[in-house]
Structures are given as C-alpha cells and as structure tokens.
C-alpha cells in the first residue's frame, strides 16, 4: 500500500514538471493574442503605425512573446472567475442536491445493509432456534425411541416369562392329565379284567348250578323259599 502511494505521488510530480517545462504555444483565444499585439504596437508606435516598426527586431521579439503560452499554473483572471463561479455553482448544487442524494443513497444502502444484516442475524437466530428445536425434537425422539425400545424389551421379557410360566403350567397339567389318564385306563383295565374274570367265573358257576339243579334240588329250593316267606312277617 505504501509503495502504491509513493508511485502515485511520483507520477503526479512528474506530470507537474512536464507541464511547467514543456509549455506549448499559447492556445489562448485570438482576442488575447490580438489584444497583446495591439497593445504592443500601440505602445511602440505611440499612435502612428508604420511598416518599419514591424521589421524592428525588438518589436518582433515582443510580438513573439504575445504568441508564447500563458502560465500553465496560474490561469487567466476570467478563467478563474468563470471557473470559480462554476465551481461555486457546482459546489452549491453538490451541497444542496448531490450530497443529500448521495448521503440518502448511502444511508439507504447502509440501512438496507443493516436491515439485511439484521435479517441475516434474525435468520441465523431463527435457524439456530430451529436447529435447537430440531435438536430438541431429535433428542425427544431419541429418548422416546429409547423408551419405546425399553418398553418393548420389558414387554418381551414379560411375555417370555409369561409364556415360559404358561408352558410350564401346561406341561404340568398335561403330565397330571396323562397320569390321571393312565390311572383311569389302568383302573378301567383292571375293572374290565375283573368283570371279564367274574363273567367267566359266573358263567362257569351258572353252568355248574344248572347241572346241579335237578328236580329234587328244585323242590328243595321251592320249599326253602316257601318256608322263608312263611317265617318272615313282611
């Protein structure tokens, strides 16, 4: 930055020296050169102009001076006046109109930038709040998910225990029932066997009795029956 300023200053000084050293022929208006020449001739002739005067070397040198360029630094008075007036007008216009407009534009721009910054800050705050909200929700969701997982795990454990208990109860009941069935079948088999044996024995006994019940025995049985009826009083 410092090097740049030095270069700028050097260029400005070089331009000023160039202007002062290489001043060109006057570009003044014809009126200024003419006025210079008229004033010189009038001064030299004292009111009487002849052709010898023009050939005089001194006059010629003076005339050539009228063609020399004016001072590049110090302007003509009229230029200073016009330039000053223009500067003043422009300055006033700038002060009255341009500066407020520029200031207003700058203020508006600054305000817009400020509002943009505020909006950005607000947006950032909103985003942060939203992020915080999302993070809170995420945390809630995570905690809810963890709670649900815990509940599901607990329910699964309870179900597992319940099923195991139920299975054990069913097994015990089935064992009890099977034992009861076995006992029942065993008792039924014993009863059937006993009934079958009894039937066989009774069949054999009936055949023996039938073979033994001849007329004499029948008569004795009837007599015994009659005696039994007669002996009982009802």
């Amino acid at each position: 930055m410092r090097i740049r300023w030095n270069r700028l200053l050097a260029a400005t000084l070089l331009a000023l020296v160039g202007v002062l050293a290489f001043a060109g022929p006057a570009q003044a208006s014809g009126e200024s050169v003419g006025a210079c020449m008229a004033h010189l001739l009038e001064h030299e002739a004292h009111g009487e102009l002849d052709e010898h005067l023009l050939h005089d070397e001194a006059v010629q040198e003076e005339l050539e001076k009228c063609f020399e360029a004016p001072n590049p630094i110090i302007p003509e008075v009229n230029e200073i006046v016009w330039g000053g007036a223009a500067f003043l007008i422009l300055f006033v216009l700038m002060v009255k109109k341009g500066f407020p407009a520029v200031k207003g534009a700058m203020d508006a721009r600054a305000e817009r930038i400020r509002s943009d910054l505020d909006a950005a800050d607000q947006a950032r705050a909103d985003a942060q709040a939203l992020q915080a909200d999302y993070e809170a929700r995420l945390a809630d969701a995570k905690s809810e998910a963890a709670r649900l997982i815990d509940e599901a795990r607990g329910a699964a454990d309870e179900l597992k225990v319940d099923l195991a208990a139920r299975a054990e109860a069913d097994i015990a009941e089935m064992r009890t029932r099977a034992a009861a069935d076995i006992e029942s079948q065993k008792a039924q088999a014993i009863a059937d066997l006993r009934a079958e044996v009894a039937g066989i024995a009774l069949g054999a006994a009936e055949r023996v009795v039938q073979s033994a019940l001849d007329a004499e025995v029948q008569g004795r049985l009837i007599d015994a029956y009659i005696d039994e009826v007669a002996s009982s009083d009802g």
Binding site: A191, R194, A195, V197, A198, G199, A201, L202, A205, E206, V209, Q210, L213, A215, V217, Q218, G219, L221, I222, D223, A224, Y225, I226, D227, E228, V229, A230, S232, D233, G234
Partner: protein, 176 residues
C-alpha cells in the same frame, strides 16, 4: 289299568267267562296262553301282523288251543286276535285276572319258577303269602327258565325274590 281299550277288553273277557260259568278255569287258560305269547316273539308277531288275514290268525289260535283249552278260552283269544289286539292280549289277560281276583276279594300273586309247583307247594305258598301280606291272594304260576331255581313272587309292586338268578347277580355285583 290305565289304557281304556285294555280295560274294556278285560271287562268283556271277564264278563264272558263269568257268563259261561267257569271263570277261574278260563282265567288260568288265558293266563297260560298270555305267558306263552310273552315268551314267544315269533308267535306274538304273527298274531299281531295286520298283513296276515284275520281268519288266518284266528285259525292259528284255534290250532294251538285245540283240545288244550276250553272252547270259551279259544273263542275269547280268537276274538281278541281277530280284532287286531293280539299285541295287547297279555295286558288284557293280566287286567282280566286282576278283575277276577278283585271280584273274589283277592289279590293276584304272580309266581315265576323254573319248574312248576306241586299242589301242596302252591297251597303252602298261598298260605305263606297270605300270612305275610295279610290279605287273600290267588297264585298264578309262570314257568320261567331264566329263574334257574327257586321262586320269584310279584304282588302288585312288591317282589319277593328267592331265585338262584338273584344270588348269581349278587355274586356278580360282589365281583365289581
């Protein structure tokens, strides 16, 4: 005697037997025929078969009772069978026997035995039952081989079972 048809036929048979003058003999013959009908399914179904003409069924009755029962008994059985009441004949005869006994102020004792009782045994049994029940009874003996031995007496709803079959059944129950 809940069935009025059975009661009506019983009264008719009893009246005819009484009118013929030998009701006790007719009762005995009808009772024996009714017991035979109870124990013989083929005979009962034949006499009760409405598809067989009544004259044919009556002819069967007459063939069975010819010279084995009185003409009155044969005529009464033939009448009942011809009327299509052969299936109800045992119940009709039972009701008639009850009517006859009641007319003589007696109760009916149905005695089932594997063999027939002698006259002396019948008299002793009647006396024993009279003593036991306190009323006069008439004994109707039914030969039932299923009794095996001994006697089973039924007087109304009372049963006096002294049969070998009962003792075998008691023995069977004791095995259980």
């Amino acid at each position: 005697m809940a069935d009025p048809t059975v009661a009506g036929y019983a009264e008719a048979l009893f009246a005819v037997a009484a009118a013929e003058g030998n009701p006790a003999a007719v009762e005995d013959e009808l009772f024996q025929f009714a017991q035979a009908l109870r124990s013989n399914d083929e005979l009962r179904s034949t006499l009760a078969d409405q598809g067989v003409p009544a004259s044919r069924r009556q002819q069967v009755v007459e063939d069975l009772l010819d010279e084995k029962a009185s003409a009155t008994t044969s005529a009464l059985v033939s009448m009942v069978v011809g009327a299509g009441r052969a299936a109800e004949l045992p119940a009709i005869v039972d009701a008639m026997v009850q009517l006859g006994a009641a007319s003589r102020n007696k109760a009916v004792a149905t005695v089932r035995s594997a063999v027939d009782l002698t006259v002396e045994q019948r008299d002793r049994l009647v006396a024993a039952i009279n003593t036991r029940t306190g009323r006069e009874v008439e004994v109707k003996v039914v030969i039932d081989p299923s009794v095996l031995g001994g006697v089973v007496t039924e007087i109304g709803d009372d049963i006096i079972d002294g049969s070998v079959r009962r003792r075998l059944n008691q023995l069977r129950e004791s095995f259980r």
